[in-house]
Amino acid sequence: MSTATETIEDLVKTEYKYGFVTDVETESAPPGLSEDTIRMISRKKNEPEWLTEWRLKSYRHWLTLTEPAWQKAHHAKIDYQAICYFSQPKPKKDAPKSLDEVDPKLLETYEKLGIPLRERGRLAGVAVDAIFDSVSVGTTFRKQLAEKGVIFCSFTEAVHEHPELVKKYLGSVVPYTDNFYAALNSAVFTDGSFCYIPKDVRCPMELSTYFRINAANTGQFERTLIVADDASHVSYLEGCTAPMRDENQLHAAVVELVAMEGAEIKYSTVQNWYPGDENGKGGIYNFVTKRGLCKGRNSKITWTQVETGSAITWKYPSCILQGDNSVGEFYSVAVTNNYQQADTGTKMVHIGKNTRSTIISKGISAGHGQNSYRGLVKIQKSATHARNFSQCDSMLIGSKCGAHTFPYIEVKNTTASVEHEASTSKIGEDQIFYCNQRGIATQDAVNLIVNGFCKEVFKELPMEFAVEAQKLLGVSLEGSVG
């Protein structure tokens, strides 16, 4: 049967609209990694001694590690000495005091990306921290947030203004010994966002960090730390894009979340790093460690991610369910088109009693894309009556792509209940024809069907971003069927 997908090769022509480069003067460190590089970064940031030492400890530990190879993805060897570890737009004078002093070219960049840093317009209800290459260029709505006692600022600022909080929680969820990339990040991280929600406060707006890689040959190593104190609530979103470049660029971030008693953190990601071209040239290597600790009783952490970009994505946003009755959730949509590879999933570690976790993963593969779900559900001996439900669905568009599922389950308590469901389907010719017969053209039909497939995940995203995510999915799958 001549299928709708046979002509795929001719038609894969995904366009990446965020591929431009901003022409700003930057100040970059020469490529290479050594204790001197780390001291230089620390000095540039005027960091306290304890942090410099922590970085150096991380670096020394990193030197003892080798790159992990268990993931299902292939890439050329990364030369860590060829990467530049620090790049920032040259400051006009000192650091900008307010957004009005930020280089207009940078503001323009974010406007172009649809992330206005002016406190108005489409994202008027969302506070944004914008990270450009290695540094934060501005955070919006600080005054309104400060009135509620919410701290939302760049990591660099947090180190200076809230050292006691940073010192207490940095590395408390993802220690520098955790893995190769976490160790590297701990040694060389340059900026990121910091957020603290005090007791009993519902954060009055969505918080958001927007990451942009601009400079060539530069790695982005940011760190995000969110602490939600007792009975507080926060919803946080990160977005990211990068210019189109022929060489691969490394992005190795660490995100740590801490939820105290009765606190709730909703962390959503719309990841749209440059995926490389249709032949698999260029693109971001997105190797990220994200973990949340449900420390207090009745706490809750929800990870929602829509992963459409990057040449390779490895990330497993996880929850440590330590407090009794705590809840971990993971909702994921991962799309791979052309030669993209994604190996993503989650770990749910149940420690407290009556802890519950839900995993909903939707993988979509098109072109030569490879998509793996990798998940671990671990029920410790102490976790009586723990419950997990996992559902992993894969959808294939065309015949050259792949979907793989690696669910690991470890149960050490007999009162626990663990449920796993999985399905793999090809996008149905029947479904496409049915849409066609109702007047809907094939590409629109694919978007409709895929969006329907991802619905359970999209409904977890904040409104403004659910719409973004649907559009993004459409762009990612452009030309995936003929």
Binding site: Y434, Q437, G439, G452
Partner: protein, 257 residues
Amino acid sequence: MSKPILEIKNLHAGVEGKQILKGISLTIHPGEVHAVMGPNGSGKSTLAAVLAGRDGYDITAGGVLYQGKDLLDLAPEERAREGVFLAFQYPVEIPGVNSTYFLKAALNEVRKHHGQPELDAMEFLTLVKEKMKLMELKDDLLKRSVNEGFSGGEKKRAEIFQMAVLDPKLAILDETDSGLDIDALKVVSQGVNKLKSADNAQLVITHYQRLLNYIVPDFVHVLVDGRIVKSGGKELALELEARGYDWILKGEAASVV
């Protein structure tokens, strides 16, 4: 007489070298209801699929004119927008896609094609409410995903409901009666009858005569092994019911000898 809506001329079609339709000719004028009856495997659904433009069929001879234009030249979505509607024998489930959203998208494609403004959500809902009464449809079906988890009867009813909203020029109903109990059959048939007008036409495909008690055809064609072996008025259906397809088959054999 008015110009035909559909002219099928000596249509030969098959799949992967297997010949299924072996020379079908059929002309349908506005205001007419044609029934195509035939045993299982005779090619009824294939005829419907070829008319609707499903991929994978080879047209080896003959052709089809739709309102004077070459139908087979059009992509399936273009045919739909031009007013060709197929009520599927097996309506397809699309998980996660809301029925109302789907139907609104479909209707707006048709409207765009005809240079009409798209309907907004309110206008669309008004239209839907009106058509729902026609089909005696429970409105919770429309809140659910397209055909997902619908019973056989609900699926068929939803198909005719979509037809009511899209208001096609040529409706092809492929075994809309199968899987319906007698009450549902009545409701669906009444719906179809209400949609009949002087400038549209219906091609009703069925295996059993039963449906034709409710949707009364102007013409009946008997399809056997990819050929129309007999055409007549509505009484042909009754005769077929009384004497079975064997009667025709024998007759055909006799006339060949």
